[in-house]
């Protein structure tokens, strides 16, 4: 039931923005909760990598005096990966196109994360 609701948040997210290509929700220890990813992508890898990146991001932000982590942004020449906490036990990972308008993506992702945090 809840997974269905999380799935629909992810569908809305992918659908609402032309810039967002895929998304997934992962537990903080790297296990997939829900995912809407291209079939070529290994869900388990995405899950583990998201958890590792977010956890390192948390530590880096704290240790380097940047406060509490907001998000981790990975910029590749073919697009972005954005990772954000969705509550204390989950991570929302979003894949965006290289041409994405980041400001809008950040807003959409933040809202989705807040909805998911209530469901997880």
């Amino acid at each position: 039931m809840r997974i269905d609701m999380i799935d629909s948040v992810l569908s809305d997210l992918n659908g609402s923005s032309a810039d967002i290509e895929a998304s997934s929700v992962v537990s903080t220890d790297g296990l997939i909760i829900a995912a809407q990813l291209p079939s070529t992508m290994d869900e388990d890898r995405v899950g583990a990598m998201s958890a590792a990146m977010l956890s390192l991001g948390d530590r880096t932000a704290q240790e380097l005096g940047r406060g509490t982590l907001d998000q981790v942004l990975v910029k590749g020449d073919e697009g972005y990966v954005l990772m954000i906490h969705a509550g204390p036990d989950a991570v929302l990972t979003v894949l965006a196109k290289a041409s994405a308008r980041l400001g809008l993506v950040f807003l959409d992702v933040k809202r989705a994360a807040e909805s998911i945090a209530k469901l997880v």
């Binding site: 790297g30 958890a51 530590r59």
Partner: protein
């Protein structure tokens, strides 16, 4: 000035994070998260990226200690973390269902790195499940054609962990002078920690 890097790996719960906390001269950076499968792994938290600590030698040199996550889904971290390392410590939990299989899994996964450097193996939790002898472990090493130090350790015990580290360093360079009297990590003579095979 040499900076040496040693990696700790092994199955979930074998004591990697604990071992680095025991050895490190500085507070350990760790990336523990709440484990959703805590009942299965027998503990509340698990490493998701890495542990980092260091040993400060009297000469001013440093031995960097990196711990990997234990689960296979984080195996991309194993490659990242072994880059530039001089050796590998594998910890296996003797109280697991099949610790021999666990050890075989890690010896295989890290075989390239072990081939280029060296490994030392610590068998942990021997207070939980009685260890009659290390025979089966040694048999496995023979199958892998590996000659490396393998003995019981308690990851919480500084002397045990130092001994395991020293065993690894000695297998890399038999010329290292390790004063026999001191059991703690200040005992490794840093001038001799030269990674020959790099």
């Amino acid at each position: 000035m040499y900076h040496h890097k040693i990696i700790f790996t092994g199955p979930v719960g074998s004591g990697k994070t604990t071992a680095i906390e025991t050895l490190s001269d500085v507070p350990v950076v760790c990336t523990d998260q709440r484990a959703t499968d805590s009942d299965e792994i027998g503990k509340a938290k698990t490493t998701v990226a890495m542990d980092y600590g260091k040993i400060l030698l009297k000469s001013g040199e440093t031995i960097h200690l990196y711990g990997t996550p234990g689960q296979d889904r984080f195996d991309f971290m194993w490659d990242i973390l072994t880059e530039g390392g001089i050796g590998l410590i594998i910890l296996v939990d003797n109280s697991n269902t099949d610790p021999i299989d666990d050890l075989a899994h890690f010896l295989t996964a890290f075989s390239d790195f072990i081939g280029q450097t060296a490994t030392a193996i610590g068998v942990t939790h021997t207070d939980v499940t009685v260890l009659r002898n290390l025979h089966r472990y040694h048999q496995l090493l023979e199958r892998f054609k590996l000659r490396c130090p393998l003995f019981e350790v308690d990851a919480r015990d500084p002397r045990d962990m130092s001994r395991l580290m020293e065993a690894l360093l000695l297998s890399l360079d038999p010329g290292i002078r390790v004063p026999a009297s001191e059991a703690d990590h200040g005992a490794v003579s840093s001038q001799d920690v030269k990674p020959d095979r790099h």
